[in-house]
Symmetry: D2
Amino acid sequence: MLRYLTAGESHGKCLTAILDGVPANLVLSEDDINEELRRRQVGYGRGNRMSIERDTAEITSGVRFGKTIGAPVAMIIKNRDWQNWKEIMNVWARGNGQGARGEEVTRPRPGHADLAGVLKYRQYDIRNILERSSARETAARVAVGAVCKKFLDEFGIKVMSWVVEIGGVRSQGPAPAGFKRGSGVRSEKDIEDIFKLAEVSDVRCPDKNTAQKMIKKIREVKKRGDSIGGIVEIITIGVPPGLGEPVFDKLNADIAKALMSIGAVKGVEIGSGFKSALLFGSQNNDEMYIKDKRVAFRTNNAGGILGGISNGDDIVVRIAVKPTASIFRTQKTIDNYGKEIEIKVGGRHDPCICPRIVPVAEAMMSIVMVDHLFRARL
Amino acid sequence: MLRYLTAGESHGKCLTAILDGVPANLVLSEDDINEELRRRQVGYGRGNRMSIERDTAEITSGVRFGKTIGAPVAMIIKNRDWQNWKEIMNVWARGNGQGARGEEVTRPRPGHADLAGVLKYRQYDIRNILERSSARETAARVAVGAVCKKFLDEFGIKVMSWVVEIGGVRSQGPAPAGFKRGSGVRSEKDIEDIFKLAEVSDVRCPDKNTAQKMIKKIREVKKRGDSIGGIVEIITIGVPPGLGEPVFDKLNADIAKALMSIGAVKGVEIGSGFKSALLFGSQNNDEMYIKDKRVAFRTNNAGGILGGISNGDDIVVRIAVKPTASIFRTQKTIDNYGKEIEIKVGGRHDPCICPRIVPVAEAMMSIVMVDHLFRARL
Amino acid sequence: MLRYLTAGESHGKCLTAILDGVPANLVLSEDDINEELRRRQVGYGRGNRMSIERDTAEITSGVRFGKTIGAPVAMIIKNRDWQNWKEIMNVWARGNGQGARGEEVTRPRPGHADLAGVLKYRQYDIRNILERSSARETAARVAVGAVCKKFLDEFGIKVMSWVVEIGGVRSQGPAPAGFKRGSGVRSEKDIEDIFKLAEVSDVRCPDKNTAQKMIKKIREVKKRGDSIGGIVEIITIGVPPGLGEPVFDKLNADIAKALMSIGAVKGVEIGSGFKSALLFGSQNNDEMYIKDKRVAFRTNNAGGILGGISNGDDIVVRIAVKPTASIFRTQKTIDNYGKEIEIKVGGRHDPCICPRIVPVAEAMMSIVMVDHLFRARL
Amino acid sequence: MLRYLTAGESHGKCLTAILDGVPANLVLSEDDINEELRRRQVGYGRGNRMSIERDTAEITSGVRFGKTIGAPVAMIIKNRDWQNWKEIMNVWARGNGQGARGEEVTRPRPGHADLAGVLKYRQYDIRNILERSSARETAARVAVGAVCKKFLDEFGIKVMSWVVEIGGVRSQGPAPAGFKRGSGVRSEKDIEDIFKLAEVSDVRCPDKNTAQKMIKKIREVKKRGDSIGGIVEIITIGVPPGLGEPVFDKLNADIAKALMSIGAVKGVEIGSGFKSALLFGSQNNDEMYIKDKRVAFRTNNAGGILGGISNGDDIVVRIAVKPTASIFRTQKTIDNYGKEIEIKVGGRHDPCICPRIVPVAEAMMSIVMVDHLFRARL
């Protein structure tokens, strides 16, 4: 129902996104998109690349006089550094530990798509792979997600995300519920409060104490030229029951696909997730009761989805984010000639991308929700 | 490229599967499929339903003289108990704790799709939901997966799965590597050996000691009328590098969707998965070296996929399986009239479905692999 | 939104269809489907194969107590001659002019998919191709279409089809409007009357005089061992405005695909179609006026679709049906060894399939309409 | 396999196209695309809009150092008049016969998508519909098609198109075979020669005499403020046998969809097409023989496709193009208030778009061919 494509390399002219299927008459401005792009660019632990990015989107079609017209929405995010890209490419090339300006890059870095890409696309110059599988493409997804968020707003559905763990640091005490791995039941008001706390945190962690420990952790890791991973939680509130297809396009399956397609994500879990492996059925089943004349659940281990269909409770998803592959330490690899070598990657890289993955995760989740709203013919 | 649909309710006449896109000239017999169906039916902790299932598939089209002809392959798995289904329906109805024969079932069970389904499909009789979202449908998927496995065989690709954890019980000592959460590097020979050990285990756990503890755990849980979850690992060997699309249909994203679409699965992780949240980049990156004139990796934290593309190493996936929702204990719920009630589910149910989910997981993984083999134009 | 797959060869056990996406609570019985299957089997000019076909569908899932439950609907149409298929295969083999029983068939027939299939599927025995691309598969589509028709009924949408031309014979005088190539404006009542007249005609032509001439034509052609083509019209009434996507899945584009996918169809036109090439804009544009307080069109050259979107008028489509490829005359061809030979096809074949293509065309049209009803979120 | 989306309104900033699935290492430049865009802009009978269009494409991603890198290819075609669009909008508004500057346009024009769009998108201002369903979007498709043509070149496949009829004027004498409706057999050399003749013709008709009559016809029609339709033929040479799926995505079905999705197309026929309705099987079947040790056909009534699969002969398709809906004559319509009114459309419009539809048809055909080449795993 909803179709989109994105394009764009880190050192190309611009990122491009086309989103087809947006209904007419949705109020939509570039500000709506720019706010989400801004969120993608802030976060403790960022390297210096931010200074050259500063993204703004240009809506080039599908919107007229501030409203969508039912036609495909196209958006462009210019790479501001495009004019001096050659210089940057060279900096980056040096950063990759690989010789002089203009030379080809032929040493696949551990933890990157370099080798897989070189083999798939029969490329010799790894730069072609780097450009293609660049994390920069996520900015285009965030733009698409921003449009979807506007649409979800009309239905009272809100997608919020925050960081729950970085390098083993997680809240121990009486922390906001959203911070706990597992899934208690929280009011929508609680969740929105947690989200607000997270948004003002440098590491997007709603719990201040933990946030400080996380920052300390990232600082240490950075000093050693290393990187660190973490866990991000995505909560969606206001979800009507009945979204999702029974067999082939289950809501949880589409969510898993959408989130796993974000570069650094190595795991996706819904509700009690991997913890459910430790639970008894009598613990994991969410008992129902009547609250304000509506069905409510005493717990939310289901994470809001049962049998592939939303049950009306909040959708609770967590993703595992691996440590940034680009580290400033000597690593062993081979080169494209098949020789064993050592490599030391340079450049500017976040030691922990968890805070910045938050809006990307929200975007992917929002796209899935809109698609299933359409399918459900609501 | 590869398209399939399945249909069939637990108390209907039969399950049906159609698989379109199978190339011509693939040797395929009903035995190939029946062997996988058999694997789906065995496993410690099964309830008594097995005695009425005993599935065999009938290939009704797409195969002529033992070979596929390029046309869609249709398969039918009869419900042997179809003749006496009314009786069974009644047993089941009673089992659901809900009164006399033939009555409607109107009490959504905790942990089931009952409520979500009733709301989505505007059904009053929950039986209609139960039938639709029945785990029995997975038999049709196993049939589809069996055809895919035959195809993968031609390319030397083998999908194998086993149980690594049940209710917190996992191997502690010097266990087979496949048993460890995380991902060491194992030879293909090692993995095939582990698989063989798992196949002869009642709980499909390759480590004998742990298997015994698991059985003990299941027995205890069953005695209490409760159920338990676990973790299943799926390893795919012989994977060529280059499978997967760079942005939209990443191999890991499609795997996540396929596995998350299995009823009881609440989480999917690839390679180091959720553990990667605890690792430094210097630990998580897989260094490369030359082994027998080919690229090899010292570790496999990537789980065989980087940037959405297979890197040539084994694909390592783990899924979290929740405890069976059907338990023999009194639970609180509401009925379709909105009254708070108690329910005690009867019938026959596995206290732990992990062993039986193994062939289903293999089937889903096989389908994804064939699809991506086709896309890669190999 | 609506997904279906069909499978089945002419000499296989059965045809199979799975239709996913049917909403719950639609009243549906096997009679609904059998009536359409019956319509597919009658029609002047049929060969003798009919006696062995007589199709009935069995709904094996997705329906419970006479109503759909939201799960995929599976249908099976048994080949009643399956028991003695070997004998039939041999008859057919002889009919193909190709030697003794059980021998492979290696002479591609002109006008058939034999050669294309042999090359695509790397088959030696043409029978494998014949089975695969058999017109018999259309029975499964008619079954799928029958379900869609039931759904369209709920919205007051009715798809009707008839024969407007066979071998150059078409109505000359003051014939029913539906008979005219081109498109006058008719009331829905008129169209339903035309359809009723067509249904009682042996050649499904609503105009009695023309029907007699068509029958005469077919008789002559048959005597000479030859075959003849024609034109079939499909009218859909009760269509709400606004169906169809603006750019990628235009309603007319999807209709063209659906109808062109029927075996013998070589052309599809909508509204004034190929005649529009001869018209001035001032003739072809349909002027609007107000009738009973609603917008109406003075003509319907648009065929009910403008810019890919239904405009509320009847959808008028015509398809060109080629003469049956199987004729009883000596034809030149090659064999699979690359030798030039002559072939004389035997067996039983309709000299003109136009009357029997009518329900198939209705089925395909109905499937498209339901799909677009879903997309339009009506 | 091949995915693309296009976006862009006639008076928006730019058109955008993203094409996903292009293999790496294809040599591709903006010149390749601009040449096709140029072809779309020339042709006798054009109005004056050309002077403000003059399209050039900018490749903004997917290509590096003159070669594709396997990432999605994005292209942008700027609307050069974007800076003065307000003025143009007003001119156009006046042209639409509807009052002063800046006013809303509320009178649906006969023959346009205005009414259908207003109803579908619940728009009041028809300009929003006009923008959306603008023929200008075809420039983006031509850009996508240009990339596909480059890819087809690598396989020796060439898609060529020309005009065979305008307003009833068609070649009578011993004209180039490509000009005949029906389908004789021509050598690939013949076809390329016909194409060259067509390309230098103002009306893209390969037959000089007929071309002059067509021009005369268009001139007459224009003088009367009217418009005229025609027929365009598309021939594809060098097609390997075996392209196309047997049941669901037949090659002819996908071609029909692709071509019917072009704005003014009201009919699509393949090979003998609608003429097949007049032929006997003995005339329509294409007999096979051996020529230069390869299978050849004595005729090509099949149009290169049988049973949905290419048979190795040229693919011959013809489309019916309706007369331009925008004419300079008073027409009856209603306004958005439901009042019967008269309208006289102004502005600049081609009285016959056949010559300009040629490269659009080639583009759509090329996209289908690449998609099926990928599916066939060639």
